[in-house]
């Protein structure tokens, strides 16, 4: 029997409607870098949150040095020497780096903070590990890279020996990534144990000793990194079998409906641009998929495209009309339909009834109002028609409060609304997120049906299966740029994975040949 510092045995964690972790076992050796690999929604973050005490598992147990432990909150984790760098940093922006590091474990005399004592220790740690920070700079003024170093120092200051990194490279530049990986290696050599959540295969090959792969909440396997290669890992992550395929007629390419040129969008999270100089066209009758790992600028790009946020540079032309500066309503009228990423935040008024939500984009049209009075009879008739056509199921039909409907049917309602409205381009952002297989299949069918009806479809997706099966053309977005244009018929999932993880890139050919 091996000597493990942490054992997570048969962990099962359920959320309403979904099993996030299904009987997962993970063993961590002392002094190793252990990668945790999986697609979005594979259950990696949930598993780590269980270890850090943010969630409690329904089944299974956690052992530290062979002894069963109960981790009910982050304090317990800290006592056991477990620290975590969260994907979204937990730093107080108006505090200095030093204040953030000592928060919760302040060295003090009768309640008075002994800052100089703390500073000495922090400076010493930062020099020892090459984590250069300015202890007196405010978090809001420093780069994301330095913020991350502050998070790491937080763990070191607490003398944690098990360090969890949740997708730490997602927000870093290539140079910073290299630096970070070196530091992680250094920790391991010193005897600390590292859990490293990622889906970037290059990084795993570079730094990890072993790798555990999860897929759809299930444990797939643990491999020694030196005995494997990227292709094999990618296969494990994605799964060999493709669960279902979509029936598609050959594409009938039409005119360009959407033309995006040099769009640049500033980020709200850091000082760099979230979207950098993005250009592409979508033609009538094709499904273009914007693929990529979460947080590579897709959300910001869609916000700028649909008018929810302003972009700093570039132009957007829809059906020959420049809509760069148009309002949301004007874009909608000009022919843009939008299935939003977050259906609860943007897509629906949950307190409204189904019929009220079905006219959310059209209530002001003469068909549904007369002199400011909503024609409820028309709304009812229209809603009943849509409900029937799109098979939206609900407790009380048109008057059901949307909050009480299932996620799949809520999404169907949005799709019905956006598809039935006059449109030339359909922007669908992660339309199948969190849905079951049946609903996913239905939504894919609807997207293909739009394409066959001669509309342009821009699909933003994180799911490799979806990208490969539904789209006619794939644009891969990585760190705010389009790094590759692929044909799903000739490419493989493994290849796509390489682009998405930044391991490969090609320049996008200019798409001027339409006519």
């Amino acid at each position: 029997m091996e000597n493990y510092i942490v054992e997570m045995l048969n962990i099962t964690k359920e959320f309403p409607g979904i099993i996030a972790n299904d009987n997962i076992t993970l063993n961590l050796k002392k002094g190793e870098v252990h990668a945790l690999l999986g697609e979005n929604g594979a259950g990696k973050s949930t598993l780590m949150s269980v270890l850090f005490g943010l969630y409690q598992a329904e089944k299974g147990e956690i052992r530290k040095n062979g002894e069963v432990v109960k981790i009910n909150n982050p304090n317990d984790a800290n006592t056991l020497g477990i620290g975590m760098v969260h994907q979204h940093f937990k730093l107080v922006e108006i505090f200095t780096a030093l204040e953030n590091i000592i928060l919760g474990v302040e060295p003090n005399k009768m309640g008075f903070i002994q800052k100089s004592e703390a500073r000495e220790k922090v400076v010493e740690l930062s020099e020892k590990y090459g984590l250069s920070i300015n202890p007196d700079a405010l978090i809001e003024d420093i780069s994301v890279g330095m913020q991350q170093r502050v998070e790491i120092l937080k763990m070191l200051y607490r003398e944690n020996e098990i360090l969890i990194f949740d997708e730490p490279t997602a927000v870093l530049t290539p140079q910073e990534i290299k630096e970070l990986l070196k530091i992680m290696r250094g920790f391991a050599e010193e005897g600390k144990s590292i859990l490293f959540i990622t889906h970037k295969l290059n990084e795993i090959m570079d730094v990890a000793d072993r790798c555990t792969v999860l897929r759809k909440g299930k444990y797939i396997g643990t491999v020694n990194v030196k005995d494997t290669n990227k292709e094999e890992l990618s296969k494990m992550m994605v799964g060999r079998d493709i669960s279902f395929s979509v029936d598609k007629k050959p594409m009938k390419e039409g005119e360009v409906v959407l033309s995006v040129r040099n769009v640049t969008v500033p980020s709200k999270l850091h000082k760099n641009n979230a979207v950098k100089n993005v250009s592409f066209d979508v033609k009538a009758g094709e499904i273009v998929c914007l693929a990529g790992i979460d947080g590579n600028g897709q959300t910001e790009f869609v916000s700028a495209l649909t008018g929810l946020e302003k972009m700093s540079e570039g132009s957007i032309v829809l059906c020959g009309k420049d809509i760069t500066k148009s309002s949301i309503r004007e874009r909608s009228v000009a022919g843009m339909s939008h299935i939003p990423e977050d259906r609860h935040k943007h897509g629906l008024v949950l307190e409204y009834s189904l019929e009220e939500n079905l006219v959310l984009q059209r209530y002001w049209e003469p068909a549904f109002q007369n002199k400011g009075f909503i024609k409820f009879d028309e709304v009812r008739k229209y809603a009943e028609g849509l409900i029937k056509r799109f098979d939206v199921r609900s407790g009380q039909g048109p008057v059901t409060v949307v909050r009480s409907m299932s996620g799949g049917n809520q999404q169907k309602a949005i799709i019905a609304r956006e598809i039935d409205k006059k449109h030339e381009i359909l922007v669908a952002v992660q339309p199948t997120r969190g849905l079951d297989v049946g609903a996913i299949e239905y939504i894919h069918k609807q997207l293909v049906e739009r394409r066959d009806a001669g509309k342009g479809v821009l699909l933003v997706s994180l799911e490799l299966d979806e990208v490969m099966n539904v789209s006619d053309r794939i644009l891969v977005m990585y760190e705010g740029e389009i790094v590759g244009e692929l044909d799903p018929k000739t490419t493989t999932v493994q290849e796509l994975g390489l682009y998405m993880s930044g391991a490969k890139r090609n320049t996008v050919k200019e798409t001027n040949h339409a006519g």
């Binding site: 982050p74 937990k90 505090f95 919760g104 474990v105 302040e106 309640g111």
Partner: protein, 321 residues
């Protein structure tokens, strides 16, 4: 020159209640709870302070000692009353603005009710002379002595002492650091083992204590030790909120904001004594409006760049991490 002395001597007793109550608001909001109930807390503190003074005014104790004891009573009263806000907004996660509004409405009515029942008047009238002509030794310092230690109240000195204590607690102790973390990023605070609920109770309680004291000092320094349920504290609790915003939720800036507002108000009530303003013949009411109008102007100019504690007003829910 006499006018300047007069204005400053009169301004300080007005500034101190504003200062203390705004500092209280700062503690509450920096912990993450909007405290719109300061108006009510002030009146509650003022009422109990005055009630205490009334009950021992004939005992012959030194007026300044009575003031100190009354201050303690007012602080306790404010603390107890603020628990109603913490309970509703932290434990029950209720809307902080609505809860605060109800607490503001309750006190004037309760004061009137009590006073009518037991004193057959609208409030409490006391007859202790808190006014100090000249503080020995300090009052003899040229200029400064005349500005700060003559024709004043003990409240002014206590107010500045409390300001210094506040600054130390806020910036030098681990309590202050943790409190500020809870108002900015409670999830971060929670992830390093800080009890967010406790810190918010603490923040609101401190605002209750300072609000109660501020109310009592209002009654001492502005109403000569009396208090009425009818006029209450004349919107000083709300003005203190504006002072706090103007002061950017920081103690020293709050001091200057409080002095600024107090100056405007003192000016408004001393027009008759300032010849050149009096000669302008502007209706005095305009001057009375000045603090409120100034608030609006200040807010209009500072709101775009002003930086409220990020998590204020949002009930913290452990389950929603």
């Amino acid at each position: 020159m006499d006018t300047v002395f007069y204005l400053i001597q009169n301004m300080l007793p007005v500034a101190v209640p504003l200062l203390l109550v705004a500092l209280g608001g700062m503690f509450s909001e920096r912990s993450g709870v909007i405290n719109i109930a300061l108006e009510g807390i002030m009146l509650f503190g003022a009422f109990f302070g005055a009630l205490f003074v009334y009950s021992i005014q004939s005992s012959g104790i030194n007026p300044q000692v009575i003031l100190l004891l009354g201050m303690v009573v007012a602080a306790v009263a404010g603390f107890v009353y603020s628990l109603l806000l913490s309970f509703a907004s932290v434990t029950m996660k209720a809307d902080q603005t609505i809860t605060g509004t109800s607490l503001n409405m309750m006190i004037p009515a309760a004061v009137l009710l009590f006073s009518k029942m037991f004193f057959n008047s609208d409030g409490i009238t006391t007859n202790v002379g808190f006014f100090i002509r000249k503080i020995p030794v300090l009052g003899d310092i040229p200029v400064l002595g005349q500005l700060f230690f003559q024709k004043t109240y003990l409240t002014v000195i206590i107010g500045f002492i409390l300001l210094i204590i506040t600054v130390i607690i806020f910036y030098k102790t681990k309590f202050g650091l943790r409190l500020r973390a809870c108002g900015e990023h409670p999830q971060a605070a929670d992830s390093v083992g800080i009890n967010v609920y406790f810190m918010r109770y603490a923040g609101v309680s401190l605002s209750g204590i300072l609000g109660g004291i501020g109310g009592f000092f209002y009654s001492v320094g502005i109403l000569d030790g009396n208090i009425s349920g009818h006029t209450g504290v004349a919107g000083f609790g709300f003005l203190a909120l504006a002072v706090m915003i103007f002061g950017q939720w920081k103690p020293m800036k709050i001091l200057f904001a409080a002095l600024f507002f107090a100056f405007l108000r003192t000016l408004a009530y001393s027009i008759a004594l300032i010849p050149f303003l009096n000669d302008l013949g502007i209706n005095q009411t305009y001057y009375k409006m000045l603090p409120y109008v100034a608030t609006m102007v200040v807010l209009a100019f500072t709101s775009k760049k002003s930086r409220a504690p990020k998590a204020e007003g949002i009930p913290y829910d452990k389950a929603k991490r």
